[in-house]
Each structure stands twice: as structure tokens, then as C-alpha cells.
Symmetry: D2
Subunit: 428 residues, 4 copies
Amino acid sequence: MKNTQSIADETQSNESTPSLPDTVQLISSLSNISELTDVFLSTRQSSLTICQNLSAEDLQAQSMPDASPLKWHLAHTSWAFETFILKPHKNNYQVFDKDYEYLFNSYYNAVGQQFPRPQRGLLTRPDLSTIFQYRKYIDEQMLALLTSPNAHVINLTHQQLEQLVLLFINHEQQHQELMLTDLKHLLSINPTYPSVDYIETLTPSKNKQMLEIDAGLFSIGHNNETFYFDNEGPRHQFYVNAFRIATELVSNAEYLAFIEDNGYQTPDHWLSEAWQKINANNINHPLYWVKKENQWFEYTLSGLVPLNLHQPVKHISYFEANAFANWCDKRLPTEQEWEVAARNHGDQLQQLFNQLWQWTSSSYAAYPGFTPPPGAIGEYNGKFMVNQYVLRGGSIVTPAGHIRCSYRNFFYPDACWQYSGIRLAETI
Amino acid sequence: MKNTQSIADETQSNESTPSLPDTVQLISSLSNISELTDVFLSTRQSSLTICQNLSAEDLQAQSMPDASPLKWHLAHTSWAFETFILKPHKNNYQVFDKDYEYLFNSYYNAVGQQFPRPQRGLLTRPDLSTIFQYRKYIDEQMLALLTSPNAHVINLTHQQLEQLVLLFINHEQQHQELMLTDLKHLLSINPTYPSVDYIETLTPSKNKQMLEIDAGLFSIGHNNETFYFDNEGPRHQFYVNAFRIATELVSNAEYLAFIEDNGYQTPDHWLSEAWQKINANNINHPLYWVKKENQWFEYTLSGLVPLNLHQPVKHISYFEANAFANWCDKRLPTEQEWEVAARNHGDQLQQLFNQLWQWTSSSYAAYPGFTPPPGAIGEYNGKFMVNQYVLRGGSIVTPAGHIRCSYRNFFYPDACWQYSGIRLAETI
Amino acid sequence: MKNTQSIADETQSNESTPSLPDTVQLISSLSNISELTDVFLSTRQSSLTICQNLSAEDLQAQSMPDASPLKWHLAHTSWAFETFILKPHKNNYQVFDKDYEYLFNSYYNAVGQQFPRPQRGLLTRPDLSTIFQYRKYIDEQMLALLTSPNAHVINLTHQQLEQLVLLFINHEQQHQELMLTDLKHLLSINPTYPSVDYIETLTPSKNKQMLEIDAGLFSIGHNNETFYFDNEGPRHQFYVNAFRIATELVSNAEYLAFIEDNGYQTPDHWLSEAWQKINANNINHPLYWVKKENQWFEYTLSGLVPLNLHQPVKHISYFEANAFANWCDKRLPTEQEWEVAARNHGDQLQQLFNQLWQWTSSSYAAYPGFTPPPGAIGEYNGKFMVNQYVLRGGSIVTPAGHIRCSYRNFFYPDACWQYSGIRLAETI
Amino acid sequence: MKNTQSIADETQSNESTPSLPDTVQLISSLSNISELTDVFLSTRQSSLTICQNLSAEDLQAQSMPDASPLKWHLAHTSWAFETFILKPHKNNYQVFDKDYEYLFNSYYNAVGQQFPRPQRGLLTRPDLSTIFQYRKYIDEQMLALLTSPNAHVINLTHQQLEQLVLLFINHEQQHQELMLTDLKHLLSINPTYPSVDYIETLTPSKNKQMLEIDAGLFSIGHNNETFYFDNEGPRHQFYVNAFRIATELVSNAEYLAFIEDNGYQTPDHWLSEAWQKINANNINHPLYWVKKENQWFEYTLSGLVPLNLHQPVKHISYFEANAFANWCDKRLPTEQEWEVAARNHGDQLQQLFNQLWQWTSSSYAAYPGFTPPPGAIGEYNGKFMVNQYVLRGGSIVTPAGHIRCSYRNFFYPDACWQYSGIRLAETI
């Protein structure tokens, strides 16, 4: 990793060197271990900040198998530091509680069996105060490790340690986003529409254009200068045909026009599997939309609010994004098209980062030459590479500095509890 | 209702007048309204006592659709006083929160729609402290009503008021039992086997006999002297053929012999539907039994303890009780046989009341002449009279004074999270 | 078994000696083995007659797990003679095909494993012509046994042989009824409403009265004079309270009034479990009713015909029967009430036998003193005694001579593909 | 379409011009309409030939929702000619039976509603002989159209007619393959392992090499010279990195080694979703493998035969193919790699065509610039482009002449009832 904040490195023909939006501040390769320690501590604090005004009950409940209780997220992110750093690499480390190895393992078969995911909301013990103690204990142990590595670290170079710590800082940031989306889903089920005073404001869409981008052979994937997840590499050549991409995201107004044109009742627009799903589940509007007395509202983390037509439409599934695109004779971009556009024409595109995740038409798959690392860490990404679709760009609940051009998020095509929206594309 | 503690009233030929065990203290017709007020307050307090050492999270989680969160029980029992007494019958009553009508309605269609039962564990709002305030508010309002009825009661005689209050005191007692069985089920899912320091000790079985009882025409059903639920009447004549009934409950030792004789692997013993269920769900021992290193343990509210062979076997489904009875060439008693034996030969039978609910072979059905009362209260019992089986006698977690000879509990034949056991019978 | 065609035998106080309707011709204890042979042959022929105008495909398909293909019925009824009579009791018997032991075993665990019931429709081999050969082979072998028992029978007295043969003649008759109801269900799924030219005509209801019957102690169960299934005994005393019973079945006109009074939309009428089922499955009329251009039709074995308002309503589930009864402030009779009325007042009741099975409010359970015979035959009835409800009286597709006063049919409370109707009762 | 039998057309840098295996005889653009008529008639006859020794029952049953009854295939392929050619384009065409529009529509929403797919096996009417008449009628009508188009064709040029006929000839060929795979699945459920005397012999694998192929920019997709489906185009540029591809398919011996190395018990090899599926369904060997007395057998269309270790392993799901590849540190090829290798190095690769479909790692998606044609025919392929994976190469049950280099078959990743196998690849 090189010491630079820039993600633009391309030297190939069709790529300029755009400046990235200010909102994207990367946790990049850090100048020294004390800087890393600061980031560690502030990241750990951020998880607690999310829970600040929530009750123990809010942190306990699990609204669906795909979501987890916030208390579980608090424990699991600590478990990750304990399992992958402290246990194997801290001299004489004493585990906080040996049961946690099982209770808070998400999906690492190489670590051992896992408590069944759909039942995480039933783990009322350990209670919240014990989990807070657990976090404190892990923070202290990590601090000892980071502040006097020579005295404590075993079986690991300092550089390897830094890389591991950086990985699990990023891991905790991923869970911070999930904490907010899981919380929103949980509260949305409550018929009283609770508010946690988190205003969801996005940059409005106001003047959408289709930006033309020429064909060419491009480098795709991380550029090695900043932190990245294994699935973002290896960097490789990819030929992209000429295409156009929308400069803005699809707005609530545009999506409403689709609904009012019987979009959810017209099979032509929908993938066959999507058509079955929306009919089986009586879906005829985005997840959090609510119609009351002929007026559309939207459930948000600040409660039920009137639908703002200028805002980008959010909480859209891949199925819905694809149907909407068909309806207006466009399509979704591939993830390579998105990356080429963002990297080289980012200044002409609005709402690229930290607004809404943008569905691409790319099934989540290994890049050419990708091999997961050996051991448990190899389970981080690789084993999910089937039947999911890639989203790019990050959302308003993605932690600042967590996102970059090469970042690949992925969800099943019917998932819609993330802050996901639509950027259109078309073939020239 | 007459003022008497005795449940024995029969004057018919084949019935003696036995004295009932001391443990059965009935909430009977109370001498005056101040006595009723005391019972009201102590019953309300008992619900809180159950929650004493539990966390907000313990009270939030719901382990299965059949169970409810303890917080929900706390709210619903208050809702019942509010809905059936305060709202219609207290002058100028102001509801605590209008949303509760929907949130805490269990199954009363006549009151309105209900929040879906399987999602009760997702109602993190109102939080626990708000529910405690709700309970306090209801208690104060009820106290005002009871201490100066003339000033407050509308559309109701004092006697009707007393009957209604008595009904919902009994209703809250039923929920107290469910709070403990639902809690046990929830905690049992936690792989750390949490203890809440509640020791489950039953009278041991040590000298089981089969007591012979002659045929005859008996009066079945409540005797009108104490409080009773509508399903316990009307009292009616029933001809019972000669039979024998066990003086004690089946012990863990006896049940273990059934297991070791491949009871769960031998289809002959099982009802066809039971055989499908135990195979589909890999059931081969009672719900809370755990085998560790070839030794049997049992999960209890005081944690995991070695199986005590002399104790009655508990948490048995109807399917298991029936299979066990077949295995030893006996059968379960009908509910009429149970009632006749308990009423007339109770002193010769051990573990009759407040030990374990005892499955009978009787499908839960209306007694001859039964008609549910009109309105929402008519939904209390009648609409459940299909596909469930009657249990008699009460368990160690049934509130003292809640049980009587004519009491009919009922559950689906695969249910086993109640404290249910086996008393055998046979035809002569 | 005595040689008599009469099922009326009671000599007890409250019973008169009614004459039974002509339609009830019993296969009773037969005077000699040659008479039995005739009945055997004609019963076997009847199964073939049912299939007369059906294609191999009609006999192959299985419309739901509860139903079986007609080809399977043809094979299974032959399998029963082979398994329970020929194999154990015919000297040097050679099985037709050893695979059939597994393929055509319905549910007899004592015989061995069974081919999974929901997949019976996938057994395209053996094909129909092979099954016809199988039937011929079994008939020949049985004929040899019956015509010269001395030469062929082993391990069985002649009387035992006769009883076994009689049992499996009755078994085949039961399957003949199922063949017709399973066929109707299968064809009803075909959107072309096929006809097999079987006119379903019942005696119309025209002047329903409520007949009063006094309380008393009655003998319930078979009277030993004719063939009976084990579940019809032992005969025992039962006290019946005074009641009234309808002289006729509920008509389509009456049931239509229930529908038009929003019967299916009013939760008060329905058992809680029924309410869930009809809502989950969008049920709002009897199984085979079809509304076309605001007109009610009914699918029958002679195709789609306009609903005849005077005919008894048929294909009603227990849930529907119970809801209808609640709607008109009546109830269903218990099976004992039905039997007492039919036995003693049969001449005042219309449509008692061979019209429609009549739901009773009695859960299917063992009579006092009932024990299933040992071995596989003990699985015939006993293991189904849970969660099903008793029907009495027989239907138009019940073979002539198969029915009697003590006959107990039983189905799950949501079953409606049998010819089942409603006879009302009420408590005095 | 040009008049040529060759599929090799490339003129680009990295492509040689290989000769294709003899077995690949394409239904290409035909020289004249009489040639087309011959192909039409022989294709129609082939469907009947498949059914030659099967009973009406074999053609009726449907073993799972993904499969269809063979009778349904016979009808549906005729329905396709009727719906897309005869009805709109034959002057004064009289439909054979108006109900068929609904009964035999597979999934064309633009044509109208469809009879529910999982219930196709319940359509016993029309019976087999009627479907044979239907086929005859369609053949006669098509023949009239083809032999004197001037007299009969409306709203269509002759060239358009030829293209449509060619499309539905290919459509019928696709169904011929499904008839055999659906038949095998159906018969495999029968515990008697029926044979239809169809020997499944493949070219053995004996000397597998990894062939190295250089990186380059290649043309992917049909070359316009022969018939192709819309999903095979448009032809476009694709950059392929250097890779190696196996010259032979994975053999039963190799796959057995995977099994014996606990391949099905080791989570590391499996995608997360695959691991859940194989555990939930107790899968631990290929679909049709059977172990008897410690010996492996395989169910085939000629019955149960000992597993031949030299033959390629078949009936493998994508999940299994992927796990096997992981186990031996290889991977599956992308569909572009497969096409490049087949087109340019086909002579060095064994078992390319008409042996087994070969899973690729490519999720089934639109090629750049793909847009489905308008109307019902647009539903042929496009709406299935999600969550399925591409297979290439064709199988022994693919009709001769139906396959080509650019052909894209696709199935869900857990599907294994097709003749699907494994060709490995690796990154250099």
C-alpha cells in the first residue's frame, strides 16, 4: 500500500484523472501505527454512538433472518478482533468468555460451528451491559497490542498486524451500516412508526442527462494504494463497449410514474423470477412507502414523512431496479461501466458516493485471477459469489471514508432493506 | 357463587366427599369488594415479581409463535382490564395510549384487528419502562373504580363488576404461568443454559398403584361455588364406565425405560400423526432433556441439572404421553375420569394439583349445553374448541389458588413447553 | 355374528325399534362361504366398473397428498388380500411381484416401509395393464382358497378366514368411495370441467324440523350382528342429554344465505383455527362451487351444473359446518346423539344414509374399552384417533350395503373433498 | 443468415479456424422451403419417436415443478406452432381446441394466463390420443402453409415465415431434450429402476491435459451464418485473460476421489448457499448415484448399472461443479473462455459437443446491446436472465444438429437433472 489518499491512478488511454467528491475520505494506508490506533478507537466509538438513544430492547430484537440484532453486531465486531488478532497474536491472551467463540461467529466454518443465524434475536444472555464490558475489554487488549507491539505481538510482523487491524476496522464499518439498516427494518414493523431522529436527506435529482462514454480497454479493480477487500482485485483489463450512463439517480417522482403506469401489474417489465416474487408477496411499491388517504408517505429513521418527489428513490430491489429500467427502455449499468464512469467522469456524475448504493447488472463473481486467502479469512467474501448482484457507490449510512471506486457491495436480487437506488444506463 | 372453599358438592350416589389438598386455595367468590381489591393488587404485583431479576432483553424476546414476550404479557394483562372494564365501565376514562388497543389485543376480533402474533417480539416500542408506567396507570384507575364504585362505575352492577374483575384476575394468573413457561423456552435456546434461580422441585413418585373406580353417572363441571371459566360448565350428567387410575405420575425413571426400549423408534406405540411429527423433527427425548457424555441432564429454570429419576417426567406432549401409555399397555384417562377420581378419591391420589398438568385423552370440546357469552368475552374459550386436548390439575408454575377440580386447560397435542406430565389409566 | 339383516337390536329403555331405510343393505354375516365368494367377486368387479370409462392417465394422476391415484387404489386393495390372507394363509402361495409389498403398502409399519404417499402419482410402472393382471391373479388365488379351503388354508380356521375376507371386502368398498372422491378432486382441477357422466342426485330438503329426543342412558356401538370395524366397539353405555336434531340436511339455499350474510367474512362464527385457514387459503364458498357471471354453479362428476338450491349442501368441511351452525344458533350433533337418533327415530329423519356424510362434533377417539388387535391389522383404525372428527351416515358414493348405524367415518376438520354435509342439532 | 454449415468465421487476430467435430450438424439457414419442410416433419416425428415404448401413464406424470409431463411437451410444442404461426399467419385458421391456448401456454404472459406449472401432471384430459390428433392436425395445417404459402400466409413475408418455422423447430428440439431428462427424473423415483433401453454411453476421459490459451480481444456470440437464439447475440468484443482449460471432462473416478476425500463434508470447498442446500437436503453424491452393498451404481435410462469410472461424471449441479473445482485448486471456465477455446482450439479439446453440458462460472446475462424482440417472442429468453448459470456444449440427449459454439443453455445452480458435467479451467 502506498501512502496516498488518491484512488485515481490510471495511466491507460481512455482515462482522465478526476477528483473525487469530498465526502469520500478513505481509510487508506496509514502513515504510522499511532494513526491506526486513533482510527481503531474512533471506529469502535462510532458503533456505540449509533446505539446512543436506543433501548436494550431495540438492540435485542431481530426482524428477519437476513438482519441481526444490534447487540449482536456490537458483540460480533468485537469477536472478530478477538478471534483473528488477539487469540492468535497476543501473547498470553485470556479470552473474555469462551462461549462467545460459538455465540458470535457469523459464518466462519474454519473457526467452528455457529449459533443459528435466524435465532440471534433470542440470545438475551449475555445482556447488553455484559456486551459493553466485552467491548471495553477488547479495546483495552487491542490498545495494549497496538501501543507496545514488541511486548505483545506473536507470529506476525508489524506490517501484517496493521493490515489485519485495518481489515477489521473496515469490517466494523460494514457492520455499522448494517446496524442502521437492520434497525430501520425492525422499527418499520412497529405500527407506531418510531423515530430515532435520524434525518435521511439525499442530494435531490434535478437535471438527469445520459453521459456518453467511449468503448475501450480499461483497468478494473483496486489500485493497491488504499485499503481494499480481496474481492476488489486483482486489477485486470476489461473491454467496455460504448455506453451512456445517467448523471443522476432515478427520483421518487420518476418511480411514482412507473407505479402509476401500472408498472407492478405489467409482467413485460419484470424478470420471470421477479414477477413471481412480487405477486407471491403482494409487492406493489418500494419497501418503506406507505399510502394513507391517497397520499404517499415514506417510513424513515425520523418516522413517517411525506414522500419527497425530488429525492432519489431508495430501498429498491434489483428486481425493481431492473423492471423500472425496462419500463423506460434503459438498463442498469454493468459494474465495469459504473467503475469506468466513476473513475474517469466522476465530476460529471451526481450522487455517486455516499448517497445510495446503485444496483449494477453484474452478478457478483470473482475477478479473473481472484483466489481467496487460505484459512478463515478466505471465507470473508469468496463463498458468497453466487446469485447476488453487485452494488456500487455507498449510501448515506455508509461510514465516511469507507467507500472507494472499486468497492463491491452485493445482495440478493430481492433485497431492499439497504439504501439502494437506481442509476440508469443504455447501450449506444 | 357461594362463599365456600370447598369444591366438593356432589350429592349423587357414587361420590364421597373428599378433602382437597392444602395446596389448592381457591380465589372463590369473595366476601366483599375490599377483599377483591386486595386480590387484585397482589395478583398485579405477582406479575412484576416474576420479572424481578430479568433484563429488559429477557422480557423482549419471543422464542416461537406459540410463546409471547414477557413484556407483552405485562402489557396485555393490563390491556384486558382497560379494554373490558375501564373503557366501557369507568366514567370519563382516558386511555393510556390509543395504539395499545391494536398492539396488545391477543385474539379478540370483536375488539378489532390484532398485531400479528409471531411478531410480538419485534415490538421494542413501547419500551419496558413505558409498560411499567402503563401497569401503574391501570392499577390506579382500577383502584379508583374499586374503592369508590358509586362515583365511577357506569353500565354495570356492583356484582357484575366483581365478576368481571375476578375474571381478569384469573386471566392475569393464566398469563403468569405462561410467562414462566415462555421464559423457560426462550432461555433453553441459549446454549449457555442460563439459570434464573427457580428450583423446579416436584413431589417424587415412589409407589404407584392403579386405583379402581366403579362405573356410575356423575356430575361433571364446575359446582358454581367458586370462580370458574365458562368452559367448565354447564354442570351435566356423564356416565363413566369402571376404570383404574394411577395414584402417581409417571417418573423420569419409567420414561427413561421407554426411551431405552426404543420407544421413539417403534411406530407401534405412536399415533400416525405423532410418528410423522417426531420423525420430521428428530424428536427422541422430552423437550428439555440433554445428553452429555452418556449422562442425562434436564434444563430447568435453575440451569442444567442431572436428571432426577424419582421426579415425575415433565414437558411431555400429548403424543408422547399417548405413546408411553401404549408402550405399557395402559391409556390416558378421559377428562371425566380424571375429574371423578380427583373429586371423589383425591386423597388417594398423589400429585393431583399444582405439580404437573396431566394430559387426558379428551379432545377439548363444549360441554352439553355450553354457549359462549355474547361479545368479545365469548371469544375467551369457545373458539379454541378444536384439535386441542384437555389437561387437568395445574402445575408448579400455576399461581396458588388458581386451580380447581373442574379446571380445563388445553393445548395442541404436540405442545410440550408447558409443565405437563402423565397420569395413566386403564379400562377394567 | 348372527345371521340377520337388521341393525336394530336394542332392548334398552329409551329405544324403540325403528325400521331402517331400504337403501341400507348390509354385508352382514353371511350364511355360508359360497355367499361370501359371490360378494367377494362382485366387490372386486365394482372396483373395475368405476374405472370403466376412464383413461390410463385418469387412473395415474394424484391431485394432492391426501388423495391417491385410482390405479394405486386398484393395486392396494389387491395387495391387502395378498398381504393379509394369501401370503400368510395360502399354502405355497407365490407372490405376484415382490416389489409390490413396498409399493402398495399404505401405512402398515408392521408390514414394512412404505413408498412415500405424496409420490404415489409418480409410479407409472407397473402400468395399468399389469395392475389388471395383478387383480386377476389375486382373484384367482382367492377363489382357489375360498372354493377349496381345506386344500389351501394354513394357520387359520374357516371362520377366521371368513372374517378376514369380510374385512378386506369392506376395505375395498372403502377404497371404492375414495376412488370416486379422489377422481372428482382430480378432475375438478382441470379447467375444462370434465364429465364422467355420473349424476350426483340427492333427496332434496324441503321441510326441515327439529325433532326432540329425551335424555337417557343408551347403548352405543355395533351390536355384533353384522360386520363392523374395530373402532365401532366395544358397545358401551353412554348418557345423552335431551336434544333436538334436524330431520333434514342443510340445503344449498340455506348455505347460500350464510354466504350472502357475509358468513365467510365474519370471524364470530368460526373456530380460531378455521378462521386462519379460510383466510390463508382465500376460501369463501364450498370447494366445488363456481361463480360465473354472477351465477352459482357446482362442479360434479357430470361436469359443471347450475347450483340446485333444494339439494343438500355438500363437500363441506367440519370448519364450515361448525361455522354455519353457529351462524344459525344451532350446533352439530355429537356422534352419540346422531346414533341414538338414527337408531331409534330413523323413520322421522330424512337423508340419514347414503346421501351425505354428516359431520358430528365428536373428535374421533377410542370407545371405552377399545383396544386395537395385535399386529398389522391393529393399525387399521387406532392410530388415526387424534385431531379428526367423526362423520356418520354414508354418502351417495358409499357402496350399497357398506353402511350401518354404528359406522364411524373420520376426517380432518379442514377436509372437504368427501361428500359431506350438515345435519344440525341443538340443546334443549 | 448465410448458407453455410460452418460455425467458424472468425477473422480476428488470436483465432485460428478449427474444424468442428462431425457430431455437430447444424440446422442452418436452409436452401429452400422444401428443405425446411423436411426438417419440420422429421423434427415433429422425433418427438413421437421418443414416446415410442412409453405408456400413457409414463407420459402423464410430472415428478417435480421444474419438469413437465411428456404429454404436455407433445402438446406445448404443437401449441407453439399454432400460437405463433398458424393463428396469426394462416388464412382462416380454425383452432383445434380453444382451451389449449390456456392449457399449454408455458410462460408467455403476452399470450395470456397460464395453467399453473406445478399442476401440469394433473391434466389427464385431453388424453394422449387427443394430443396425438392435435399433433396431426397441426402438422397438416403447417404442411399446407409451407407447401403453398402464397395461398395461406398472411401478414408475413416468406423469409419471416421461414425464420419463425426454424425458431419453433429449434424450440421443439429443446423440448425433446427436456422430454428425456424429465423422463429420467420421473423413472428414477420408481424404486424398481425401470429401463427404457436407452444406453447412455459417453466418450471416456483418459488423458486430461490443461491447454494454455493466450489473452486477447475476441468476438463472442453467434456469427449470423446459422440459426441462433436471440440470447446468443449481438456478437461483441470481449477481452479474455490468459487461461488454461482442460482437454477432457472430469471423470467418475476423479469425482469419486472428491467424495472419498470427504468433499461433501468439507465446507471450505462450497459456496455458502451450496453448503446450506446440500446439508438441508442430505446431498452427498451425484443425483443418480446409488450405493448398494458398498458398491456404486448409477441410474440410467437403461436401468441401474455399475458406475463406470472412466466415463465423465454427469448430472452435476453448478454447486457441485464449483466445489469439485475448488477441491482440486482449479475453477470453472467463464462462458467466454469456453467459447474462445471451442471455437479456436476445438480440435484439441475432447467431449466438447453432444456429450455433457458443461457448467461455466458465468451468470446468465444479456450480452452488450441485447434487447429482446417485442411481443410474446421476446419472452423466450430475456426474462430468465437472473440467478441462472450458463452451460455450453450440449449433451448426448441434445438432438443432433441443434448445437453450436455460441449456444447458451442456462439452469439454476442447484439443478442437476440435466446431463451436465465439469470441464475445469485455471488462471495462468
